[in-house]
Amino acid sequence: MEHVIRVERDGEGLQMALLWLLEEALVRGRIAKAVASASDYEVTRLEAEIPDREISPGYFTRAGYLLGLSTDLELGIPIDPASISPSDVIGIRAVRAARAEFDREHPGCPRCGERQDNNVMRVCWACNYKLRGDA
C-alpha cells in the first residue's frame, strides 16, 4: 500500500518547509539589497544560493498559512481558541521550532542586526563587527 501523508499533520515535514522558507527569505532579502549596487554576476551568485525546494509544494502552501496564523497570534489579534484546530497546533509548534533553528543557524549581529550566514562567522558580513573573540 502506498504511503499517505496528511501534510497539515506532518509536523516534521512542515518544520522543514518553514525552515526552507526562512532560509529563502534571508537570501532574497540579501538579493534585494544587493541589486542596486552589485554586479549581475554577484546577483546571479546570490540567486544560486536560494535552496531548491526538494519537498512537496503542499508543505510550502501550508507553511505560508501557518506563518500568517503565527504572526496573528504573536500580534495579539483576537482569535477564538475554539477555531484553532489540532492541525493548527501541530503547525504552530512547527513554526516555533523552525524559527528557533533558524535563529541558532543565523544569529543576528549585536550591532547592526543583520543575520549571519551561519553560527561560526567571526565578523559580521555587513558591518565587520567582531562576533568572536579570536577574530
Binding site: V4, I5, S56, T61, S83
Partner: protein, 247 residues
C-alpha cells in the same frame, strides 16, 4: 441584467448539439449532496517527473459523475430496437461520455461576470456572475443569465483564516519528496462561508417569486453559484492590470 429571473426550483433542460443532431437533456434540481459528491471528486494534484513538477487536474470525470446523478430524461437519441432509452439498464451511462461531460460542464458553468460594472457598496461586497442555465420554452435555445448579483457581508479575518486553512490542505501519496501531492480543494468551506455571509441576491426566483431572505437564499441557491461567488470573494482571479482601454 437580463429581464427574466433565473428560476431555481425547476428542472433544467439543457440542449446539446452533436454532428448536426440536437439533444435535450433534463436534469433534476441539484441538491447540496450532489455538489458535495462533485466537489469531493474534483482535485488537483502535482508530482515530480525528473526536474519538472507536473500539475494534473481532471474535471471531466467529476462532470460526468455529476451529470449521471441528476439526469432524469433525455430527448433526441435513437436507440437500437426502437425501445425507450430510459428502459435500458443504467440508461444514463449509455449516453455518450462527451454528452455527460458537457452536461456536467453546463451544470457547473457559472462564472464571475467579466463585462459587468464593478460596484462598491457602502457596506458589504457585491459579486456578479453569469450562468448558462436552461433552454427557453419558446425559442428552444439555451438561456445564459448575466449579471446575477450576490451581496455579502465583508469577510472577517476569521473567515479569511478558515478559507486559508482549508485551501492549504494537501495529501501526499508515495513520500514527501517525490510523491504525488493531492490538493482536495476548499469548495466545501467556500459554500459554508457563502451561507454565513450572504445578505441578498438579485436575478433569481423560486417558484416564480424573487428569491429573498437569507434563509431562502441559503436553501435554494445553486451550490455551484455559491462556490463561484465565495471563490471570487476569497480568492479573486487576477483581472487587474495597469494597462487597458479605460480612460
Amino acid at each position: 441584467m437580463s429581464e427574466a429571473r433565473l428560476e431555481l426550483s425547476e428542472p433544467r433542460r439543457i440542449r446539446l448539439h452533436d454532428r448536426s443532431h440536437a439533444f435535450t437533456i433534463i436534469c433534476r434540481r441539484l441538491e447540496p449532496a450532489d455538489w458535495a459528491v462533485f466537489f469531493g471528486a474534483t482535485s488537483m494534484s502535482s508530482e515530480q517527473r525528473g526536474a519538472e513538477r507536473i500539475s494534473i487536474s481532471d474535471f471531466d470525470t467529476p462532470r460526468a459523475m455529476l451529470a449521471e446523478r441528476v439526469i432524469t430524461s433525455a430527448e433526441g437519441y435513437k436507440v437500437e430496437g426502437e425501445v425507450e432509452l430510459t428502459s435500458l439498464p443504467n440508461w444514463v451511462t449509455r449516453l455518450p461520455l462527451g454528452h455527460r461531460q458537457m452536461i456536467g460542464a453546463q451544470l457547473a458553468g457559472a462564472r464571475v461576470s467579466e463585462a459587468g460594472d464593478l460596484m462598491i457598496l457602502s457596506e458589504g461586497e457585491c459579486i456578479t456572475i453569469d450562468s448558462p442555465w436552461s433552454i427557453d420554452a419558446e425559442t428552444g435555445k439555451m438561456v445564459a443569465y448575466q449579471g446575477l448579483q450576490h451581496r455579502l457581508k465583508t469577510p472577517s479575518a476569521e473567515h479569511q483564516r478558515r478559507y486559508n486553512r482549508a485551501s492549504s490542505r494537501s495529501i501526499i501519496v508515495g513520500g514527501g519528496r517525490n510523491g504525488r501531492t493531492i490538493y482536495p480543494g476548499s469548495q466545501d468551506v467556500l459554500v459554508e462561508l457563502y451561507d454565513e455571509l450572504i445578505m441578498s441576491v438579485d436575478g433569481y426566483s423560486w417558484k416564480g417569486e424573487p428569491l429573498s431572505g437569507v434563509q431562502q437564499i441559503r436553501d435554494a441557491m445553486d451550490g455551484w453559484h455559491k462556490f463561484t461567488v465565495a471563490q471570487a470573494l476569497f480568492n479573486p482571479s487576477n483581472t487587474v492590470s495597469t494597462e487597458g482601454d479605460a480612460e
